[in-house]
C-alpha cells in the first residue's frame, strides 16, 4: 500500500485554518485544498495509506471513491506528495471520516498558475545567453 507524504523540497505547504495551500517550486503552480480535500491531505501525511483512504471513501459513496482516487493521483502527479514507504504503526483517527459521516462529499480543490512567473524566474540574476550567470548591472 502507498504511504504518501509531502514532497520536500519540491513542495511547500501550510494549513490555514483547515485549508491547505501547497506550492510546487519546480512548476510554480499552487493549489488550494479546502474542506474534505484538506482533510485527506492531512490524513495522507499522517500515514494513512492511499488505498485504504480510497476504499473507505468508496464504501461511503461510489463517486466519492472515484474522485478520491483521482485526487490522490493528482497530488502525486503534480509533485506535491511522494511515496515515502514508511507505514506508521499507530495512526490517528482520519479526519475525512467525520466529514463523510455527516454527508460532506465535496472534494473540490483549485489549481492556480498566476504565480508561475514569480516563482520560476529569478529577476535579479537571470542567465544571459552570452555571459552566463550572473548578469551584472554595472554601477559605474
Amino acid at each position: 500500500m502507498r504511504v504518501l507524504s509531502i514532497a520536500i523540497p519540491t513542495c511547500v505547504a501550510e494549513d490555514f485554518d483547515g485549508e491547505i495551500v501547497a506550492l510546487n517550486l519546480d512548476t510554480g503552480l499552487y493549489f488550494s485544498f479546502p474542506g474534505l480535500a484538506g482533510a485527506i491531505w492531512r490524513d495522507l501525511n499522517a500515514g494513512h495509506p492511499a488505498e485504504r483512504v480510497v476504499t473507505e471513501l468508496a464504501a461511503a459513496n461510489d463517486v466519492l471513491g472515484h474522485d478520491a482516487s483521482r485526487f490522490i493521483n493528482s497530488l502525486v502527479s503534480h509533485g506535491l506528495l511522494r511515496e515515502n514507504g514508511e507505514a506508521a504503526s499507530v495512526l490517528p483517527e482520519p479526519e475525512y471520516r467525520a466529514l463523510v459521516e455527516r454527508g460532506d462529499f465535496d472534494l473540490t480543490f483549485t489549481a492556480h498558475d498566476d504565480m508561475v512567473d514569480l516563482v520560476m524566474t529569478d529577476p535579479i540574476h537571470d542567465v544571459d545567453e552570452a555571459t552566463g550567470w550572473p548578469v551584472f548591472h554595472d554601477s559605474a
Binding site: 511547500v12 505547504a13 501550510e14 490555514f16 485554518d17 485549508e19 495551500v21 506550492l23 517550486l25 499552487y30 492556480h112 498566476d114 504565480m115 514569480l118 516563482v119 529569478d122 529577476p123 535579479i124 540574476h125 545567453e129 552570452a130 555571459t131 552566463g132 550567470w133 550572473p134 548578469v135 551584472f136 548591472h137 554595472d138 554601477s139 559605474a140
Partner: protein, 363 residues
C-alpha cells in the same frame, strides 16, 4: 560546445571569486572587519520591530544619512531578542583591496544558496560588481561591502540596509514586505501593489489629513491576530505631481531634489508631526488603483487578487526564501479581509472615505 561551456573554458578574470573560493573570501572579509581597531568605524543604533540593531560604518556621512532614515533606539519597546549587527564597509576608506568580482558561469542560484547555507552564511546573489551583502547566521551579523557608495544600487539610499533588515526580520518570524499602512493606533490597513498604483500618494494624502503610517514603501509585518506592521524606514517618497495635489506642500519641499525615480524623499515627521507610528495593528489589506472616478470606492476583492498584489512585488524585491515568502503572503491575504480602492482625484475626499472605512474596521 554551449555558450556556458565556452565561458567556463576561458580563464577566470584576475581577482574573480568563484564557487571554490566564495566562503573563504567572505570569511576573509569578516576577519578583516573584526580586526579593525576601535574608533575606525562609526556606530549607530536602531530599533526595528522592537529588535535592537547595531550598525558600524566606515563612512560617518553615510552613518548620519542612515540614522536619519532608520528608526532609532527607543522608538518602541525593545524585545528580549539578540541584537542584530551590520557592518557597512567601504574598501576605499579602509585601505582594503577592492571587492572581488563574482564569476562562476556554471553555478546555479540553488547551488549558491546551498553552498553558503552549509557554511552558516547567507548572501545576496552578487548581481552588482563590487557589492557584497552577506551574513553570519549564527551570530546575527551582516556585512555590506562596497568599494565606494557608488557601487550601491540607486535605490539603496531610499531604503538603506533593506536586505540585512529583511534577513533580521526573517530570522524572527517577521518579514519585510513591499507595502504601506494608514490608520491609527486601533486599526490600520496594509496598502499593497506594484509601483505606480498609488501607494505613496495615498499614504501622503492620509497623513496630510490626520491618519498615521508606519511607512509608504516597506514595512515589517509580524504575523498574529491581528498582524502588526512595524516601521522600517523614516521617510516617504512622492513625485512632484503628487505633492502638488496637497495645498501648500510644494512650497515646503521646494529645495528637495528628486531621486532616481523622480520622487522626493521626505522626512514625514518634519511635514506632519506625529504622523509616524512605531507600529499599527493591521485589520485589512487594501489594493489601490488610480482612476478617473468621481468618488473613491472601496469594495471587497477575492483574496487571490490581494495575494497577487502583495506577493508579486514583495517576492521580486526579496527573492531569498521565496517559498516561505509566498506562504507568508498567502497567510496575510487569507487572514485579513481584502479590498480594492479605486481612487478619485480629490485628496480630501479620498482621505475622508478612507477614514470612514478604517473607523468601520473591527478590533
Amino acid at each position: 560546445m554551449t555558450v556556458r561551456e565556452a565561458i567556463a573554458a576561458r580563464a577566470d578574470p584576475p581577482g574573480a571569486i568563484g564557487s571554490a573560493g566564495l566562503t573563504a573570501y567572505l570569511r576573509q572579509i569578516i576577519a578583516r572587519a573584526r580586526a579593525l581597531p576601535q574608533g575606525v568605524l562609526t556606530t549607530r543604533r536602531f530599533q526595528i520591530a522592537g529588535q535592537s540593531m547595531v550598525a558600524r560604518f566606515s563612512d560617518e556621512a553615510r552613518a548620519n544619512l542612515y540614522a536619519s532614515r532608520l528608526p532609532t533606539a527607543g522608538s518602541c519597546t525593545a524585545r528580549r531578542e539578540p541584537e542584530f549587527h551590520v557592518d557597512v564597509l567601504e574598501t576605499a576608506r579602509l585601505g582594503w583591496p577592492a571587492p572581488g568580482r563574482w564569476h562562476d558561469p556554471l553555478s546555479s542560484r540553488d547551488d549558491f544558496d546551498r553552498m553558503l547555507e552549509r557554511a552558516g552564511l547567507r548572501a545576496l546573489p552578487p548581481y552588482m560588481p563590487r557589492l557584497w551583502e552577506f551574513m553570519v547566521r549564527e551570530e546575527n551579523w551582516a556585512f555590506q561591502l562596497t568599494e565606494t557608495p557608488l557601487d550601491l544600487p540607486v535605490w539603496e539610499a531610499g531604503a538603506p540596509l533593506r536586505i540585512p533588515l529583511h534577513w533580521a526580520s526573517l530570522d524572527r518570524g517577521r518579514r519585510l514586505v513591499h507595502g504601506a499602512t494608514l490608520g491609527d493606533d486601533r486599526a490600520a490597513v496594509l496598502i499593497t501593489g506594484p509601483g505606480g498604483t498609488g501607494k505613496s500618494g495615498l499614504t501622503l494624502t492620509g497623513i496630510a489629513h490626520g491618519l498615521k503610517t508606519v511607512g509608504d514603501d516597506y514595512v515589517v509585518i509580524e504575523p498574529g491576530n491581528p498582524p502588526v506592521a512595524w516601521q522600517a524606514f523614516r521617510l516617504l517618497k512622492q513625485d512632484r505631481a503628487g505633492i502638488a495635489r496637497l495645498p501648500g506642500l510644494a512650497a515646503r519641499v521646494s529645495d528637495s531634489r528628486p531621486n532616481w525615480q523622480g520622487k522626493l524623499e521626505l522626512d514625514p515627521e518634519s511635514l506632519f508631526p506625529g504622523c509616524m507610528a512605531a507600529s499599527q495593528p493591521i485589520r485589512a489589506i487594501l489594493v489601490p488603483h488610480i482612476g478617473a472616478a468621481t468618488e473613491t470606492r472601496i469594495e471587497p476583492i477575492e483574496h487571490k487578487f490581494a495575494l497577487d498584489a502583495l506577493a508579486r512585488s514583495t517576492l521580486q524585491q526579496f527573492p531569498s526564501q521565496r517559498a516561505s515568502g509566498f506562504l507568508f503572503c498567502t497567510g496575510l491575504s487569507k487572514t485579513l479581509p481584502c479590498f480594492g480602492i479605486a481612487l478619485s482625484q480629490a485628496p480630501g475626499e479620498i482621505a475622508a472615505t478612507l477614514k470612514r472605512f478604517i473607523e468601520g474596521l473591527g478590533t
